[in-house]
């Protein structure tokens, strides 16, 4: 999850509102990994994710005066999800682009790093397998609708609570629950259909 800045976040936010760019950049460093990961999981492409992340922080600086208390994290995450929604909507008008993302051979640019908690006695076969599983999950995510993809990314990948997700997406908690259950079911169906062999393996991770 995002590292907490040493200086209390509220002080940094106030300083940033007064035009202190250095204070704002402290906030950027604290949130950039989470923002980039969300953008990457939503868009499926590292370059698009980098663009969306940059755009998110510029918008955040421009609109600082609009943030009036409340969770700064929810506020920033709302900006990145809306930015990604805009990108995805544009992609839908030009579907060939999204197909390229899905089927292009990105193995040389694969940003998925093997997890740091990987133990030394993991065999190379297992490493390859895990890598394969991560790639397949990302592919599966891209088959979901933007709304389903977003709730599953925020809840199951980023660990936000239902209430936080409701705040970020500005929807009722009930909607979060139903959307999440359907998103999980859809992703499960994708894995069962295309990569059934992976499912039993999952429990060994």
């Amino acid at each position: 999850m995002a590292q907490q800045p040493v200086i209390p976040e509220e002080r940094l936010v106030q300083a940033a509102k007064r035009g202190d760019l250095a204070a704002f950049n402290e906030l950027v460093l604290a949130y950039q990994q989470q923002v980039y990961n969300i953008a990457y999981r939503l868009l499926g492409d590292p370059d698009a994710a980098a663009d969306a992340t940059q755009e998110t922080f510029i918008k955040a600086y421009e609109r600082l005066h609009q943030h009036r208390g409340g969770s700064f994290r929810s506020w920033v995450l709302r900006i990145v999800t809306n930015t990604c929604y805009d990108v995805l909507r544009k992609q839908q008008r030009y579907p060939t682009q999204s197909l390229d993302n899905l089927y292009a051979d990105t193995s040389d640019r694969e940003p998925d790093r093997l997890p740091q908690w990987q133990s030394k006695d993991t065999s190379p076969e297992e490493m390859v397998l895990r890598h394969e599983i991560y790639r397949v999950i990302q592919e599966g995510l891209l088959t979901l609708s933007p709304e389903h993809r977003t709730v599953i990314v925020l809840c199951d990948i980023e660990g936000l609570s239902y209430e936080e997700i409701a705040e970020v997406l500005n929807i009722p908690v009930g909607t979060v629950k139903s959307r999440l259950s359907r998103a999980r079911a859809r992703l499960r169906d994708y894995l069962r259909t295309h990569h059934a062999e992976l499912l039993p393996q999952a429990y060994r991770l």
Binding site: K17, R18, G19, L21, F24, N25, V28, L29, Q32, Q33, V35, Y36, N37, Y40, R41, P46, A50, T53, Q54, F57, I58, Y61, E62, L64, H65, Q66, P111, D112, R113, L114, P115, Q116, I133, Y134, I137, I152, D156, I157, G159, Y162, K177, S178, L180, S181, R182, R184, A185, L187, R188, L191, R192, L199, A202, Y203, L205
Partner: protein, 232 residues
């Protein structure tokens, strides 16, 4: 209770069950059901596996730092939303302008030294009262007014009425009555009034009107300046 026709669990309940968001008693009921229902257990396990995979996806490393440079934010005004000196100046100038205009109007209404008051129609009864006032003061004040017509006191008019002469109400004076407010009298064809609207004589503008003009010009300049420098 476990019944043969017990319904299978819907995916939303299973999803809440995985996240432990059900009430403890509800959670326990589901656990019990899963123990003996093959179909629901398979459903639960596949969903749970999917969530498990997602939860263990590794974090993707950021390709670079996304901190902003001065260049990136150059297009944004330094003081956003908060009031800088520009906003304060505009507010003060606007307030002063409103104040000066109000004073000008106030002065115009109650002390029309510089502008002639246009003649207004008034009901006859009011003028009758006024002529009564005049009659009570000696004849002398009436005689002093150069353009005054003879004012008929009430008693005389009554006497006149007896004699068949109607009580006429005539315009008396254009000057303010001693101790009274300005009299607005009906126009009479014999009394030519000077033109009500004179051409604005800029040379005779009082100083506060010049001040109002200056403030309005300054306000316009400030607003144009702000508009040019607004945040995109």
């Amino acid at each position: 209770m476990l019944g043969k026709r017990e319904r299978h669990i819907d995916i939303e309940t299973l999803s809440l069950y995985i996240d432990r968001r059900l009430t403890p008693s509800h959670h326990e009921r589901i656990s019990q059901h899963l123990k003996h229902c093959e179909r629901c257990r398979r459903e639960y396990e596949s969903l749970h596996q999917t969530v498990h995979l997602l939860r263990h996806l590794p974090r993707v490393a950021v390709p670079r730092a996304f901190t902003l440079t001065e260049q990136d934010v150059r297009h944004i005004r330094p003081v956003r939303g908060a009031w800088g000196w520009m906003q304060w100046a505009t507010a003060v100038v606007a307030a002063l302008l409103a104040l000066v205009i109000s004073i000008d109007l106030f002065v115009q209404t109650f002390a029309p030294a510089s502008a002639p008051v246009p003649a207004l129609e008034r009901p006859a009864a009011v003028t009758l009262e006024v002529t009564k006032e005049l009659a009570r003061e000696q004849v002398a004040p009436v005689a002093e007014t150069p353009l005054a017509m003879k004012a008929l006191p009430r008693q005389e008019s009554l006497e006149g009425a007896e004699r068949g002469a109607p009580a006429k109400v005539l315009p008396t004076t254009e000057k303010p009555l001693p101790g009274g407010t300005a009299v607005e009298t009906p126009k009479s064809p014999e009394v030519p009034t000077p033109p009500a609207i004179a051409r604005p004589n800029v040379a005779r503008w009082p100083p506060h009107r010049w001040l109002a003009f200056g403030l309005a010009a300054l306000l316009a300049m400030l607003l144009i300046w702000q508009h040019r420098h607004r945040t995109p």
